[in-house]
Symmetry: C2
Subunit: 704 residues, 2 copies
């Protein structure tokens, strides 16, 4: 009768696939080269279980520990980039290659020193990370005897005397201790009624010197009463090659070591005798088998769909993650995603721009997004403000800031969004009607200060000029990056505000000294009066860039009092807000990828032909877009020393007097800020010199 | 005792406000000049009703009919653009102006010929069309006697004998017939026990020649038993001015003509006698009153909020409408919105691009939007595909095409959206596995042909090159405008395909003749071989522009077979699809605004400094965007005579052999189309000449 072996069943646990996903995403990416992995098998499974080779989470740490009383098996992972490559991989070639390695280790005797060389496996995989669908084919190569192996005696159901069993147990455990492991895969043994001896494989010569009966032990994962498991196969080839000439038969002990109800039992081990062919003179590698059959019992790959057993919310998070990480595989390997994803963004305005900015941020994986708006959703909003629906408009309309948060969570449950239904006090919009209104304004200012302080980037996405004043002042004082977007009918501006140097930092101006102005202290600036709007230079570092108000020679005031219907809402081409919103976020991301962040030198249109400063491209000061020409220009301009928002004197007053200063601005007309900053004087001088300048006082851009 | 008058209560019906909304939106826009409107009043109201002056839907048709048995009152509408202007309007000045006109008509005697000149009113309004909130103030000017008017006899509760009443009724009805109206506002009357006579105002002299008692009749809207309504006031001034010198007293008949339970009754009319001052020598305009009190009984405007009583869905529709129409008020008066709104758009692909295109279309008011997609929504989609939410991904994911429609309706119930969960057969993706697959492909082709036929514009928004082939062929054959958008990592192309001339139209090439190629027949093209990609010329008319495949020298095939994960989905910067989607729609709108539509000459980057061809700007062939440089270029290129999609030979084969031809393309490799179009030959020639050209075979754009 021919000896038959129970093949391994691959047991690939969910943890293995999760770890493979992470490795593929973060380490391997497009690398298809073979990777070392480690599985293990156990000889203590109860009857009925298949002969398993288990791969779990730890499989990728080949130097890591193996579970106690399990044998490690070293494997090679071939993870392909495409299903097509998975299918077309030459499986025979992989198997032959592995077989040859084993055969060489047998011939060279390396196996004797390191018997686990006999236990090698191959795992071919394709991980469809978009669908959480994994394709795999497992192979445990076994070299074969051409004619098979003849059993001389039928396998014994159990060992002989219980004294022998105890002795074997003790001897094996000792071998393990000597071998510094908890499971030795192969061993030599000899026994009499009184004693059992055990030795490692490489002791063959001395151990069996005087012995007629040769018994080899194998740590056997099989639970079948009549058959050994797969690990025995390559051992028998080894013996046939090494000692086949001397031996007639070999006795095999399939060592099975169960623990039943807390009691250890070797009773299920089996012993039998086989007749081995003599392979001592063979040099050709024997035939090899080993690819696992699939669930249908046919030769073919298996697949597993993990999406079904995952928490949908976690699945959503990892899917979003995946899409982002794919960027790093080939296109932008240097992309610092964490820098983007962890950025806390404050969106002032949850209208057309706010909704589009929020959606783009979510696309970039930004998790922390806070909305501030005091408006309610009206019927005309949903078709242009992509976080709202018709239902949100009913019975007076939901608060935009709160509804935006609701929607964000519906889109992506992993988002950390918050909404504040509040007003932003504005210059020229008095708050001193009563104690109540004044108190409310104070609260609003404090709230805004706290919000800006707890975020990294502030987006200005409102529909009036004057509402941008207070956050501009606060964020400038707190040295927070501001990204500002404003729409005209078919034009837009997206800009980063200059980021003031930290207080006390050396270098030029603009931070806290009111006597030293940024324009006049610059060595690259030609001498002469600092005329607003005329300061267009290249190579302006981030801390010397202007803000939204720097180009204006009129202080912000109440622009809403007398606006016609088409001026009340920003009448713009519907595509404009999507473009500007998207660009505002992309600008932020590009800036975050720059090592100097908001201090980076501003790129200009001229830099388009040069080497970009970051892997994502340019970091301009402003993007001014003209939809009618499908054109963008990238102007850069210096901070204006008489700016009504970011000039040193305004920041000084704000930092010294706080709300007392701010409330003066709210309650006063233009002239207060203009007097303070010196604009009034400038006006007079300008008039005296009869120079006509067209002040920019609207969100609308009309120049060029 | 002094005579007191019941003032008019303005009764402004919802229909009036709706019509005002329409007028403001479509006609008046920012025009604040006074407008003529018409109201009416009735003398048959039952007791208890206020003295109403009614303005309804018809108020703006001053030449239109007045309801039967009602008196018209001509008014002047002052509709302001802002609430501020409404508030600050000088009400006294308006009243004085109107009073002066009435006084002049009295003095000149014009009132005698046209007594309705005495019944003038003023309506001051501000319509907040965003909120459906209307502010108004009504004024019915009445000239006053400085000392008031003395009643000589108490008002009679009813007329005398019933015979007199019948006679009055007959006489008044006859006067109406003679006057060609159903209600005469003022008349003269004299009566005895036997008869009642009635005459128009201008007959005074002859009618009252021998009369001692003068009786004037006024069509009286008042229902109070002791008081006349407002219309009597200016009549008394007229009489005092014209005949005050001769008269001592005047008898007044307040003519009230109710119908009670089907029976006409004048019983509620009242008669009294008043003593009139003599104003015959007055030249100064008397003092005037007339501004209506508000609901609180104080002098002030009223307001009405119609949003609450409107159907929310209609409200949403008119709000969306409003936002669009505002563009025409000031910015683009020539914008043909109807042309945009009525365009039927077919979106092939409901992924990142499809969702963004759909949202922009909705922003433009496009109502008819159809989606085609065969994919299901996966967990990574919602953060980048703005028509889907987390819930849509559960249990395998909803069909994108159907979920997109659901969402569109939730955003705007007025949309007419439809979704088709279907595949588009592709070159190199065989369909001849079985009768079933072949039959399905035939159905899919027929479905796509029918869809393209029933739409005006086809958007190609898929994620593979080859899926764009079939719709390109069908739409080219059907002469439908195609707008195509494709993404790279940080680059995109948005383009319109050349729109072939209608069959049989004269002019050059490219429509149906396969012997005459577009490149070689053009007089503006230099002689020489037509090299793909090299045909960049200015002034290319729409019918000679290339399609997406014209720049390629390789036929489309199965590009999905061997793509790695990062190639399977379009890995792109999240803002990119929003920008490209928005631009695709804006390009469509600009083309629709061009008088030649898809046949318009392509604008190029060089045209940016020239006068734009439409009020919205340029109509380029392609917009190629580079996010890393925040730059767009506008190349234009000629149709390629060997194009695998739009060349005459491909269209001829499709039009002649239909599905038989298409299935050959689906089932064959590249070479079939390349042989057909002559590309194979071109390759050989090119290789022979040792010219290296880099074919474009990916969606990714790398050139500039």
């Amino acid at each position: 009768m021919k000896l038959q072996f129970a093949p391994f069943s691959s047991a690939l646990e969910a943890g293995f696939w999760h770890q493979l996903t992470q490795k593929k995403l973060n380490d391997y990416r497009l690398d298809e080269s073979p990777k070392s992995i480690k599985g293990y098998y156990y000889n203590g499974d109860p009857a009925g279980l298949p002969t398993r080779l288990t791969l779990e989470f730890s499989a990728f740490e080949t130097d890591g520990p193996t579970p106690a009383r399990c044998c490690p098996a070293m494997g090679t992972l071939y993870n392909t980039n495409t299903l097509e490559a998975f299918k077309s991989t030459d499986k025979k070639a992989l198997l032959d290659k592995q077989a040859k390695e084993i055969w060489e280790a047998i011939q060279s005797g390396a196996c004797l020193q390191n018997p686990s060389t006999l236990n090698k496996f191959i795992l071919l995989t394709f991980a469809d990370l978009k669908k959480y669908h994994f394709y795999y084919w497992f192979c445990f190569p076994a070299l074969c005897f051409t004619e098979g192996i003849q059993i001389v005696e039928e396998p014994l159901l159990s060992l002989g005397l219980s004294a022998q069993i105890s002795a074997l147990q003790v001897a094996y455990d000792n071998l393990c201790i000597v071998s510094k492991t908890t499971a030795v895969p192969y061993f030599l043994t000899k026994y009499s009624e009184e004693c059992v001896e055990v030795a490692p494989l490489h002791d063959w010569k001395t151990f069996f010197a005087s012995q007629k009966t040769v018994t080899v032990g194998v740590y056997d994962p099989c639970t079948l009463p009549q058959h050994p498991g797969w690990p025995l196969r390559n051992l028998l080839i080894l013996i046939a090659n090494k000692w086949g000439a001397q031996l007639n038969t070999v006795e095999v002990l399939c060592f099975r070591d169960r623990t039943l109800q807390g009691v250890r039992s070797l009773q299920h081990s089996i012993i039998f005798r086989v007749k081995l062919p003599d392979l001592s003179s063979s040099t050709d590698c024997p035939k090899c088998v080993g690819w696992e059959k699939n669930q249908k019992g046919a030769m073919g790959p298996r697949s597993v769909n993990l999406s079904e057993c995952m928490d949908p919310k976690r699945l959503a998070e990892s899917s979003v993650d995946l899409n982002l990480k794919l960027m790093r595989w080939r296109l932008v390997p240097s992309l610092d995603l964490e820098r983007v994803v962890s950025t806390k963004c404050l969106l002032l305005g949850a209208g057309t721009l706010g909704c589009n900015v929020a959606r783009t941020l979510m696309g970039w994986g930004v998790r922390h997004i806070t909305f501030v708006d005091n408006a309610k959703i009206s019927y005309s909003n949903p078709v242009r403000q992509p976080l709202y629906e018709f239902e949100d408009c009913l019975t007076g309309g939901k608060s935009k800031a709160l509804a935006a948060v609701e929607r964000m969570r519906k889109i992506f449950p992993g988002v950390n969004a918050e909404g504040f239904n509040m007003s932003i006090p504005m210059p020229g919009h008095p708050v001193n009607f009563s104690e109540v209104t004044l108190g409310q304004a104070r609260k609003d200012v404090e709230q805004l200060e706290a919000l800006i302080s707890s975020h990294d980037v502030v987006f200005l996405l409102m529909d009036t000029r004057e509402s941008r004043w207070l956050p501009t002042v606060i964020a400038a004082s707190q040295r927070k990056l501001i990204v500002n977007a404003a729409l005209g009918f078919d034009t837009f501006v997206v800009m980063r505000h200059g980021l003031k140097r930290a207080r006390g930092e050396s270098g030029d101006s603009s931070a806290s000294s009111s006597s030293c102005t940024s324009a006049s202290s610059s060595s690259s600036t030609p001498a002469g009066p600092s005329v607003p709007g005329a300061s267009l230079f290249s190579n302006i570092p981030g801390h010397r860039l202007g803000c939204y108000f720097c180009n204006d020679v009129v202080a912000p005031g109440d622009s809403t009092r007398d606006r016609t219907l088409d001026q009340q809402c920003t009448v713009s081409r519907p595509g404009l807000a999507m473009i500007a919103g998207a660009l505002a976020v992309e600008l932020m991301v590009s800036i975050l990828q720059h090592p100097e962040g908001g201090y980076a030198v501003a790129s200009s249109s001229d830099d388009r032909m040069n080497e970009p400063p970051t892997s994502l491209g340019l970091v301009p000061h402003q993007i001014r877009g003209f939809l009618s020409r499908f054109d963008n220009v990238l102007p850069a301009s210096l901070a204006f020393d008489k700016c009504t928002a970011c000039s040193p004197i305004v920041l000084d007053n704000y930092e010294r007097d706080g709300f007392r200063f701010l409330s003066k601005v709210f309650n006063s007309s233009h002239s207060f800020l203009e007097d303070l900053t010196g604009l009034t004087l400038l006006h007079q001088e300008t008039q005296a010199a009869e120079v006509t300048t067209a002040p920019h006082t609207y969100d609308e851009i009309t120049e060029r």
